[in-house]
């Protein structure tokens, strides 16, 4: 029996791997980082992992795993603070928590909401870890049989989830995903090295865009900009009220709801690419549907907190399933996790079938770490909740420049090139517009993350199938139509149908009002313009390298058809249609203190200054002027805050032995570090 001979000893070995003081220390460090990242709106697992990525190189694998798993596991625990206290989701996985958590806080029951949320998070996290254990046990023999067609179908299954993410207008979701895929196809073609949408005159693009930059740009920057424009603290008051025990009791009373939602979280997590952005909404929908007395929802019903919070921690366990088993990322942060794993030690860990075969002990160590991190995270959240609540009363304008500074530094680590910052800004701008016009950003990121697996496995499967069919029809069908492939096809078709039906109940990014036709139309035309560019570019790839052109051609054509249909619909439908969703429309209530363009100009200014005089000098000017002018701080505080920021950057860079982006000034004069 495999179970007793291999799995059980590995399960024990995994425990022995982590039960060392140093490992636990790294785990706690990761948990604390994750808690901090989760508290800040806009920063989630992608931002957290990309920040620690440079530290991973050569680190003992188990220590690195402890740090990363610790961080990823608890982001959905601490993001509750922002959701409950201020009504702003701390990360994309806590959006539904806002609906009932925030009203509870307004009624003075913040502590009760938080403790119910933490209890649910802990429970969900443990369910996720147990599921992962169980799934690895039963799936291991099957997974080792997976070949290219099976892996292709797993990736395609992930892509099919775009249906559920698309929200009110399915075509917009499909188009967002295909634009994500086209953006991922920029650079040297994977097979013949033909350039796609790039040229050797700008060598930066020949390597394609990095996930770190795209993830930070598409999610973090729009959130930061949106919050900056409101110019408020994350939370208004720091008092949490009483009711810590009540919250736990609430959870216990609804333990079955919590269990069902945790299972939903696991299942959604397992689906490649889907990640956190929808799991809370599905759980919330389920909670409302299965409750008889629906009147209290949206006004502070504790069940509306328990449901989403049980699911969003459970999804991390589920998300590790495709990641560890197939090497296909379960979400954007898992994609970075895969990259980081390769940096650990001398690169002995490699996700996918190999890991299940050769490193089963490490696989189980991850499960143990996941469970422990949830426990530590919950304890820390409860113990520190008073302090954390105080933290959330700081004006966001004072935090934002630091968050932006850290994101810029993280982005720059991926390519050590000024273009990293320019692309971060560009993708951030795209993210802002997608958010404004209610185009699904998660769908875009799924497209981006899954484009490479889909293209590679499709290519491999196609070539090998061709060879097999030449050997004989039976050999060919054996290869492409295995029982696993057929099962996956059935599951995919079902998920598309169910997904499209469910999509109407899911507002992945909240309600967005519709308004005039002009702005949404211009945005659609720009997107179509990009698609046309991609199409013509792919068409110019010479015929001998056709294999590099097939994927972008196909995606661009699908995307173009969606775009044209959307254009026709826009012509026919009235302005109130969801098609014309535009966030700037319901802004008349004066929610935003500042306009979009002045806010963006600050960041554009940092970029331009960096290209002129290098990052550190530019950052100095940016911080000083931002704190003095935009935030209206006194000269002393401006100087202290700016010095703290610069000092932190220099410390990080020195620790990692990295340089900062140089500008024109640096090309003319050689300056001492850190000004280089």
């Amino acid at each position: 029996m495999d179970l007793f001979n291999i799995a059980l000893p590995a399960f024990v070995d995994g425990w022995q791997l982590i039960i060392q003081p140093l490992v636990i220390g790294y785990l706690i460090l990761g948990v604390m980082l994750g808690l901090a990242i989760g508290i800040f709106p806009g920063l989630g697992g992608i931002a957290g992992l990309s920040l620690v990525l440079p530290f991973m190189f050569g680190l003992d694998p188990i220590l690195g795993l402890a740090l990363m798993v610790g961080m990823v596991a608890v982001v959905p625990t601490s993001d509750t603070f922002a959701s409950v206290l201020m009504g702003i989701p701390g990360s994309s996985a806590s959006q539904a928590t806002v609906l009932d958590g925030f009203p509870m806080a307004k009624k003075g029951m913040a502590a009760r909401a938080l403790s119910a949320a933490f209890a649910s998070s802990l429970f969900g996290g443990i369910v996720g870890a147990s599921f992962l254990t169980f799934f690895i046990l039963i799936a291991r023999p099957v997974v080792l049989e997976f070949k290219s067609p099976e892996l292709l179908m797993v990736s395609a299954f992930g892509l099919s989830m775009v249906g559920i993410l698309a929200g009110r207008v399915a075509l917009k979701g499909i188009m967002a995903a295909s634009v994500g895929m086209l953006v991922a196809s920029i650079g040297e073609g994977p097979f013949n090295g033909e350039l796609r949408m790039s040229s050797y005159d700008v060598p930066y693009f020949t390597d394609g865009l990095k996930l770190v930059i795209v993830g930070l740009g598409i999610f973090a920057i729009p959130e930061i900009v949106a919050l900056l424009r409101k110019d408020k603290a994350i939370a208004e008051q720091a008092s949490l009220g009483a009711g810590w025990l009540d919250g736990v009791k609430d959870w216990w009373q609804h333990k079955w709801l919590s269990a069902r939602c945790a299972l939903i979280g696991v299942v959604v997590g397992v689906i490649p690419g889907l990640g956190g952005s929808v799991v809370d909404w599905i759980a919330y929908g389920h909670t409302v549907q299965t409750t008889k007395d629906k009147a209290g929802f949206g006004k502070g019903d504790v069940r509306g907190v328990i449901g989403p919070e049980s699911s969003n921690n459970a999804k991390e366990g589920g998300g590790l399933v495709p990641t560890l088993l197939f090497g296909i990322p379960g979400s954007g942060s898992m994609a970075i996790f895969i990259g980081a794993l390769a940096l650990l030690g001398s690169g002995e860990l490699e996700v996918g079938q190999v890991m299940l075969k050769d490193n089963l002990d490490y696989t189980y160590a991850i499960v143990w770490l996941l469970a422990l991190a949830n426990v530590f995270g919950t304890i820390l959240c409860i113990a520190l909740s008073g302090q954390i609540a105080k933290l959330t009363t700081i004006r966001f304008t004072l935090i934002a420049p630091f968050i932006f500074m850290i994101i810029s530094f993280a982005a720059f680590q991926s390519g050590q090139d000024l273009m990293d910052l320019a692309v971060l800004f560009g993708i951030g701008f795209l993210g802002i517009l997608m958010r404004r016009f209610d185009w699904s950003r998660p769908a875009f990121l799924i497209g981006f993350v899954l484009a490479n697996p889909v293209e590679n496995y499709a290519n491999n499967a196609n070539q090998i199938a061709g060879i097999r069919f030449r050997q004989g029809t039976e050999a060919g069908f054996d290869y492409i139509a295995s029982p696993i492939v057929l099962t996956l096809i059935v599951i995919t078709v079902i998920s598309v149908i169910v997904g499209l039906r469910q999509a109407r109940n899911i507002r992945a990014e909240g309600e967005v009002a519709s308004g005039t036709k002009r702005a949404p139309l211009i945005f659609l035309l720009c997107i179509i313009g990009f698609v046309l560019f991609a199409l013509f570019d792919a068409a110019t790839i010479p015929s001998y390298a056709l294999v590099d052109a097939v994927f972008p051609l196909f995606v661009a054509i699908v995307s173009l058809i969606c775009g044209l249909v959307l254009l026709v619909q826009m012509r026919l439908k009235p302005e109130t249609d969801p098609l014309f969703a535009d966030r700037e429309q319901h802004d008349s209530e004066g929610e935003n203190k500042f306009g979009l363009w002045p806010t963006l100009a600050w960041f554009a200014g940092l970029l331009v200054l960096t290209s002129l005089m290098g990052f550190i000098l530019a950052l100095g000017i940016f911080l000083i002027s931002f704190f003095a002018i935009r935030a209206g701080q006194s000269a002393l505080r401006t100087l202290v805050l700016s010095a703290a920021g610069i000092g932190f950057m220099c410390f990080m860079a020195w620790l990692l032995n990295r340089d900062f982006p140089p500008g024109l000034l640096q090309s003319a004069y050689s300056l001492p570090w850190p000004l280089t």
């Binding site: 530290f55 190189f57 050569g58 680190l59 003992d60 220590l63 080792l144 049989e145 997976f146 070949k147 290219s148 040297e188 994977p190 097979f191 013949n192 090295g193 050797y200 060598p203 020949t206 390597d207 390769a342 940096l343 001398s346 690169g347 002995e348 490699e350 996918g352 079938q353 190999v354 050769d358 050590q416 590679n456 290519n459 491999n460 070539q463 090998i464 060879i467 050997q471 001998y544 294999v547 020195w654 620790l655 990692l656 032995n657």
Partner: protein
């Protein structure tokens, strides 16, 4: 851990700053940046990370040696960058690999670097092993005479990559190999072999030891041949890391349809030399004065002279010679000189077999 060491090292450097003596070449308090044109995960990263601390110990003034990564365009980006570097104070070093050498040899239009401008200070090599599944291995008897009717599937990274060595070898042995083009890295090739999608594969020595040897022990893979190693006379001999496995040259000699005297073998050998025995070379930029070159040469020679060097390098890099100074120079010459006939043979073959046009 690494960060911690760096902090300690940083503090040590700061202390030693006070003791700077003005010797001829002294790197006290300096940081030497060794740029590798690949990502942190590849074999070149392992190679540079192995040597970096040793180099720091053996250079005068014990500078901090950091390895920097500049991946892109299959190492062309980093090499083009290095071409523009000028000598300042001897703190810039570059490490190239077979993947940098091949595009240069084949006249890739992206190549804007010129090896002869650079100053090689150290070179080291590796080997490669081809292997089969047990079923096919039954037909393999040191020759491929019994394998002519069989069809093999091989995951190929790209026609102009290092994979042209195995592809040409199999072609010469008369094996009918179907190439699945465009896989990502040799690790994926091994995965395809393990899942049964590919039926023939090759790995460089260190990857073979790590990833394939367990399969061999389980009876799921059988080593077929190595590419061999070069002796002092430039002859191909058995790979010291795999002394029991025949070389391609031996297999070719024993196989009826294969010849080691024709232009094909000459071309194969030329590219093999460029790709394997002097695969990784460390350079100082153009215009580096002789005393700096000598300092580095001395440091690398001191590393090689360590009593435990054979042992620790075998563990990390395999049992391959390390060339220093003038030897490195001749290793470079071997690596970048491919005579015109070999080159035109290979470009013609790439065109006819893979449809790759290099003109």
């Amino acid at each position: 851990m690494k960060t911690l060491t760096r902090i300690v090292a940083g503090a040590a450097v700061a202390l030693s700053l006070t003791a700077t003596a003005h010797a001829d070449v002294d790197f006290s308090g300096k940081t030497i940046e060794w740029t590798i044109p690949f990502s942190e995960t590849g074999g070149s990263a392992k190679w540079a990370n192995f040597f970096a601390p040793l180099l720091s110990e053996n250079l005068p003034g014990n500078p901090t040696v950091v390895v920097k990564f500049m991946p892109g365009a299959g190492s062309t980006k980093g090499a083009n960058w290095f071409q523009e570097q000028q000598h300042t104070d001897g703190t810039v070093m570059f490490g190239s690999s077979g993947s940098t050498q091949f595009p240069y040899l084949l006249g890739d239009p992206r190549v804007r670097y010129e090896y002869s401008d650079w100053n090689p200070v150290m070179a080291s090599g590796t080997g490669g092993v081809a292997y089969l599944n047990p079923e096919a291995a039954k037909k393999f008897n040191g020759t491929t005479n019994n394998m002519q009717g069989m069809t093999f599937i091989y995951g190929n990274q790209g026609a102009t990559r290092l994979d042209l060595i195995p592809a040409l070898a199999w072609k010469m042995l008369g094996l009918n190999v179907e190439h699945v083009m465009g896989i990502k890295g040799r690790g994926d090739g091994r995965k395809m072999f393990e899942s049964g999608e590919a039926t023939i594969d090759y790995q460089t020595s260190s990857s073979f030891l790590k990833g394939v040897q367990p399969l061999v022990d389980e009876g799921k893979a059988v080593p077929m041949m190595t590419w061999g190693a070069l002796d002092v006379n430039g002859q191909i001999v058995r790979d010291p890391t795999f002394p029991d496995v025949p070389t391609f040259k031996e297999v070719c000699e024993a196989t009826f349809s294969c010849s080691t005297t024709g232009p094909e073998f000459k071309a194969w050998k030329a590219f093999f030399i460029a790709g394997f025995p002097s695969q990784k070379i460390s350079f100082l930029p153009a215009g580096t004065p002789q005393d700096v070159i000598d300092t580095y040469t001395k440091a690398f020679a001191a590393i090689r002279a360590r009593s435990d060097f054979a042992e620790i390098s075998a563990k990390h890099l395999g049992k391959y010679p390390m060339y220093v100074g003038d030897e490195a120079k001749s290793a470079l010459n071997e690596a970048i000189t491919v005579d015109a006939s070999a080159k035109s043979f290979v470009t013609g073959w790439l065109q006819s077999e893979f449809g790759v046009s290099l003109n």
